[in-house]
């Protein structure tokens, strides 16, 4: 860990997260979304790119239940998923 006695080399400096800490989900409100995400990960061999929809759903769940600060999803890196959704809608309709 960072307590290793390395005097010559630089030591690791942890940085605080950009948006702070997640409030704890004491009541398990978003556990279903989490389970869906974990299933997707196991299915896809733990590849993150395949499960971004589920991740987006989980974060939206958190935002709905005040477990996360509301933020437009583009700012969280889901810009392409949102564009896909808006593209799908006009196609469907």
């Amino acid at each position: 860990m960072s307590t290793a006695m390395n005097f010559s080399s630089k030591s690791f400096a942890p940085r605080p997260p950009d948006k702070g800490a997640f409030p704890l989900d004491h009541f398990g409100e978003c556990s279903a979304f989490k389970e869906r995400f974990m299933e997707c990960l196991r299915r896809s061999g733990y590849e993150s790119a395949a499960c971004r929809q589920s991740a987006k759903a989980y974060l939206e769940c958190r935002m709905d239940r005040q477990l996360m600060a509301n933020e437009p999803l583009e700012k969280l890196g889901f810009k392409d998923l949102i564009n896909e959704k808006s593209e799908e809608k006009p196609e469907k309709s």
């Binding site: 942890p14 950009d18 702070g20 800490a21 704890l24 995400f37 974990m38 990960l41 993150s48 969280l76």
Partner: protein
């Protein structure tokens, strides 16, 4: 006065006041005139030298007083010599006074005093006016005064610089708060950046997760996935699980570590559960997500070319009530 003195081109007087026939006489040796040693005593040669040099610079010295009536002053020829300064008014008096003050070799001494070469107050410090020449004392005092004020200004400037260096720390902090530049280095981790970044598809990185607790911490803390494959520039989600098996609420606080160390600067967490107190009630189990991304500049760093495994390691410590842990880099 020897006859015909007024008609002679120039008459030189020794420092001791003895007249010397003009140099136009041929065959005259350049030795000190006879009787010089008797008058000047001591090292006549030295005095003689001084006399010769001094006389050459000063021009004809004033004549000795007692025996002769004062001859008229030589007219100042504007052309001839470059710059021997005429002696000031007091010296037109008998040089005996100057001799009393300066002793032997009065000509050079007097000149030096006049020009300030021998006793500059600045050089002499405050040890008192060297030479004690009453004629230049006023100027020396003025020099002293000016020097003292200059020293005062310089000392004030030095103290000001030291104070400024102390004040720089809070001032810089204020500046950083005002302009919002505090803490961000290199890659600016702003929301616009996340919005704009593009995933680099050809670098697949395996991120493994590790969970630790402090020895006295009774939580059971582990990751819910052992590894995840991400690409730089794409946000990813990962979960840890923590359970409090005790019958008392426990507050934990965590910190993280990234290995390899150089990759840690590219590992950016958007939101996680570290550095803040997390309270778990008895027998409670929670999911703790970590939302992160790897900076796209990771792919451009030559030092990271061989890195394809990054390990994220969290450690939980117990936080006692009211205890303020000094956590690195987090206010």
């Amino acid at each position: 006065m020897p006859a015909g003195l007024r008609d002679a081109p120039v008459t030189w007087y020794t420092p001791c006041g003895r007249a010397v026939p003009p140099a136009s006489e041929e065959g005259q040796p350049r030795a000190a005139p006879p009787g010089l040693s008797a008058l000047c005593g001591g090292a006549a040669g030295r005095d003689g030298m001084r006399w010769r040099r001094g006389a050459a610079r000063l021009g004809p010295p004033p004549p000795p007083p007692s025996t002769f009536p004062a001859p008229p002053l030589p007219p100042r020829s504007a052309s001839a010599r470059p710059g021997p300064v005429p002696l000031p008014a007091p010296f037109r008096e008998p040089p005996r006074a100057a001799m009393a003050l300066c002793g032997r070799g009065w000509a050079r001494c007097a000149r030096g005093l006049r020009l300030g070469a021998l006793s500059r107050p600045g050089l002499g410090g405050t040890r008192g006016v060297r030479g004690s020449n009453p004629f230049t004392r006023q100027q020396e005092e003025e020099w002293r005064r000016r020097n003292r004020s200059a020293v005062g200004y310089i000392a004030a400037a030095a103290v000001g610089m030291v104070g400024l260096s102390y004040a720089a720390v809070p001032l810089y902090r204020l500046y950083c708060q005002a302009t919002g530049l505090g803490g961000t280095t290199g890659a600016g981790r702003s929301a616009e950046r996340i919005e704009r970044m593009e995933p680099v598809r050809d670098r697949l990185i395996r991120v493994t997760f590790n969970a630790d607790t402090h020895a006295s911490m009774q939580w059971s803390f582990k990751p819910q996935q052992s590894e995840i494959y991400v690409v730089p520039g794409e946000t990813a989600l990962a979960f840890y699980k923590a359970k409090n098996p005790t019958d008392k609420p426990v507050i934990g606080i965590s910190t993280y570590n990234v290995v390899p160390f150089e990759a840690g600067q590219y590992f950016n967490k958007i939101q996680c559960f570290c550095f803040e107190e997390q309270r778990l009630n008895p027998q409670e189990e929670v999911d703790m997500p970590v939302f992160f991304y790897i900076d796209p500049e990771f792919a451009e760093d030559p030092k990271m070319a061989k890195v394809d495994l990054i390990t994220l390691s969290y450690t939980f410590f117990e936080a006692k009530e009211g205890q303020k842990l000094p956590l690195p880099g987090y206010q």
